[in-house]
């Protein structure tokens, strides 16, 4: 007991470490989002909208890569296209199809703007993200 009281700071540190360890282990696991889902949050958060979640899998079932990445000019970079609603309404980028003729029109805001607010622009499940920046999600959750 004497040892306990004498080295109380050490014990406190140990207890704190244990708590952190248990906390990290029991924290909710990283998102299980579908591979290649792109979250685009260039301007959405600042404009008070939910970030856009673009499901690659849904689109590649219907269109080949060439349609968007060659014909429509989408760059191979998450958030690298600087898409705005003005451009979409003008028929550029998403607006080339999301015009009410090939697919639903722009008034269905929540279908695209469906991400959790505050999620940064990224491709879910990407190798780069897993190797370079695996912890961003947990940091975000702690901040909430």
């Amino acid at each position: 007991m004497k040892a306990l009281t004498e080295h109380s700071s050490v014990w406190k540190m140990a207890l704190f470490g244990l708590l952190v360890w248990v906390g990290v282990l029991s924290a909710p696991q990283q998102a299980q989002a579908e591979y290649a889902d792109v979250v685009i949050n260039n301007y959405a958060d600042a404009a008070g909208m939910r970030p856009v979640v673009f499901p690659h899998w849904y689109h590649r079932i219907r269109f080949r890569c060439k349609v968007c990445h060659a014909d429509l000019g989408f760059k191979f970079k998450a958030g690298g296209n600087k898409i705005t609603m003005a451009k979409i309404i003008d028929g550029k980028f998403c607006g080339a199809c999301h015009n009410g003729e090939i697919s639903w029109s722009v008034e269905n805001c929540g279908m695209c703007h469906s991400g959790i607010p505050g999620t940064p622009t990224h491709i879910s499940g990407s190798t780069v993200q897993r190797l370079v920046a695996p912890a961003y999600k947990e940091l975000d959750k702690k901040a909430q």
Partner: protein, 226 residues
């Protein structure tokens, strides 16, 4: 005399006391075994002990529905209107990585027929069937790059000349670059099948010749005591 009688009765009592419970046990045994065999399936291997997740692998659903995938806001109405991947993947060939769908095989087997043109479903893709063999310095099998599945999905201008210079011996590719999202990693690891320990052989598919030996390192070549 009375002592010996007492001893005998003691022995008799102890015998009875010993035999009775065992008899009772043996009588009850068939009942219990019958109960057990009655409640369990006929061929029980050992027990269900190995059902336990003994490697403590993370249990996660690779194709979770939008409202359960962790990036969609469940408070948003549109989230619940979106299609779930599993519904769309019904009947498609599977793999162990990425979306857990073999997209190229799905295309070749005719299960998928995505449009090559935004509006016209009749437009046929410009497919080029040309395999490029890239020798690998290390002892892993050489890489065969098939143009065919790539041109089925993409257009020449997607890769050439920005990502890959269409000229021999000009593209230096290594796994670090790919893992960090350059060269092949522009798509592989983000959208197309990712470089994992399970997918090495998809690219590294041409075994080395039988007489192939790894090149000697400089430290060995320059070693004066060699």
């Amino acid at each position: 005399m009375s002592k010996s009688i007492f001893k005998l009765t003691a022995i008799a009592v102890s015998l009875v006391a010993f035999v009775l419970p065992t008899a009772a046990l043996s009588a009850s045994k068939p009942v219990t075994s019958a109960e057990v065999t009655g409640s369990m399936p006929d061929k029980l291997s050992v027990s269900n002990a190995n059902v336990f997740n003994r490697l403590l692998k993370k249990v996660n659903d690779p194709n979770a529905a939008p409202d359960k995938d962790g990036i969609h806001d469940t408070a948003n109405e549109g989230t619940h209107a979106l299609q779930a991947p599993k519904v769309a993947y019904e009947g498609l060939p599977t793999t162990e990585f990425g979306n857990h769908i073999d997209w190229v095989q799905a295309l070749n087997s005719g299960k998928l027929d995505p449009r090559y043109d935004r509006e016209d479903p009749e437009v046929e893709p410009f497919v080029m069937d040309l395999d490029i063999v890239r020798p690998v310095k290390a002892s892993v099998p050489d890489v065969v790059f098939p143009h065919k599945p790539h041109t089925q999905w993409l257009h020449c201008s997607n890769c050439h000349p920005k990502i890959f210079i269409p000229q021999r011996n000009t593209n230096q590719i290594n796994m670090s670059a790919i893992l960090l999202g350059k060269k092949c990693g522009v798509c592989h690891g983000k959208v197309a099948f990712p470089p994992t320990t399970k997918s090495c052989k998809k690219c590294h598919s041409k075994p080395k010749d039988a007489d192939w030996t790894p090149p000697l390192s400089n430290a060995t070549v320059k070693n004066p005591w060699r």
